[in-house]
Symmetry: C2
Subunit: 297 residues, 2 copies
């Protein structure tokens, strides 16, 4: 049974009042542990989305506890892919997040990439900063904003920053706060299959079924195209947990720590080339995805 | 959106041609790590289902690599709960599985309990044996057959015996073989939330969407009532993955090891007192479950 409206009329039925991503650039969320030394499948795809003639890359390692290790890795990878310059930006504190030179480097870049680490460091240091405002503007103007692991989890308006998978689906087991606000109507989790994090998105979905759960496997990613079309990339999986049709849950009646019941969520597993229309909650096999992306050009 | 037929008419619409459990006894599957020393919540519930006047318990440790450790634990627990005798049965080889004295002890028992361990040892040693035939007959005649971890996974006609969660949902990542055949139309996985095994049941569901996936969390269990009504027990969760309405998957087109796409599975999380009608694929909140169980008495 397919829940979608007629796939032929997606363009007309899309609810433009709540766009997922109201920008002309692409947002790309990666589940962590993407290949950085071999085929670079995901990084190559991301780099190819940068606007023409704008081959500078900014790599932001604010989330990372080991920026001196990861920044050179990404610098080497993006140079291999043809970047004209790679700006390695540690941005370790809020002063650095207000630095005018750093803002200028962001403004020059066609691809802005967030490394992994701790998403709470990312939001705590970048929240409300000139650097973050510059990144939002770049996305608006057509640049690519990409992030892996913590850098992916932090992208939505609301993000998960803590919660062991085995403790989740118990009221309060997952900790949420404001994210970087690049995309609405989604919640993003990373290392999803490898760490068995289904319960985290189920708990969030029970707490408010409106927002789509996107669980990114390692070496997998999702391109969020303008108009809210998701496209899976990389050798791994992108799991979707759609709670919008949730029939019942006991969550509001429980004490903290008690187990949450869930009646009816919808589960998808996307692989590279498959897609999803977030507004219409419609899975797209490769032909359908290609047609929609072509149409929106 | 609720997928169920009218909940009031479940009795009439049940497809009696494919009963989940065609026995008068109860089958109870537990996800592992159930409390054996404190409140004994799950073991107490299981013991209470034994037929009146039949308080002997047989504990079968065939699956276990450490039978000398687990058998005394269960013996102590069931004696505490009021068992008149606890028969601790190691059954280490196929000769022991044909032993007439052991068969006689099974025939005397109102509750037959399988410990955890390796489900492949369970089926390899018990498959086709006189002991297994005696257990099936006891279930038919009204005894309780219960099992934890491997002892739960082995219960259906087909069982999972291997497959790391992070490797699953890649074609061939999950290894299946014949189970003990106590119940049809289900596949059971244990330690489900703790080991993030959602991908295992998704792969099985993609390979054949007909059979309901039952993922048992630790210290959680499910009573399979006659007529295929599931009842969740214990402090943990019972996850259901229902693939029957699967819309599409690439699994048949893949080489072994390639990632499996899944369009549309339904996900539920049951907690103690909640239930599920397997034939009608209908989630039952506590009032509905109680009414159905009452009605079937």
């Amino acid at each position: 049974m397919i829940q979608c409206p007629s796939k032929a009329s997606l363009g007309d039925e899309r609810d433009m009042a709540s766009p997922v991503l109201s920008a002309s650039g692409h947002l790309v969320a990666i589940g962590g542990a993407e290949d950085r030394t071999s085929d670079l499948e995901i990084l190559k795809k991301i780099f190819s989305l940068a606007p023409e003639g704008c081959q500078e890359v900014a790599v932001i390692a604010t989330a990372s506890g080991i920026p001196d290790q990861v920044l050179p890795e990404y610098e080497a990878a993006f140079l291999r892919l043809g970047a004209s310059h790679v700006h390695s930006l540690g941005i370790r504190d809020r002063q650095a997040a207000a630095d005018a030179d750093t803002v200028r480097l962001i403004e020059q870049s066609g691809l802005i990439f967030f490394t992994g680490g701790d998403q709470l460091r990312l939001t705590n240091i970048l929240g409300g900063s000139p650097v973050l405002k510059a990144i939002r503007q770049r996305l608006q103007d057509g640049a690519v904003v990409a992030g892996t692991s913590a850098g992916a989890a932090a992208m939505p308006g609301t993000m998960i920053y803590n919660g062991a998978a085995a403790d989740a689906l118990r009221k309060g087991g997952v900790s949420l706060t404001f994210g970087l606000g690049f995309v609405d109507n989604l919640i993003i989790d990373s290392h999803f299959l490898e760490r068995g994090r289904f319960t985290r998105l189920m708990e969030v979905g029970a707490s408010n079924p409106e927002h789509l759960g996107v669980g990114l496997g390692e070496d997998a990613g999702v391109i969020i195209h303008p108009h809210g079309i998701l496209e899976a990339i990389g050798p791994g999986h992108v799991i979707l947990i759609d709670s919008r049709d949730l029939a019942s849950s006991n969550i509001a009646d429980l004490a903290m720590g008690e187990p949450v019941a869930v009646e009816y969520m919808i589960l998808h597993a996307m692989v590279s080339g498959h897609g999803f229309d977030v507004e219409n909650r419609c899975y797209l096999v490769p032909d359908e995805l290609d047609a929609l992306i072509e149409e929106s050009r």
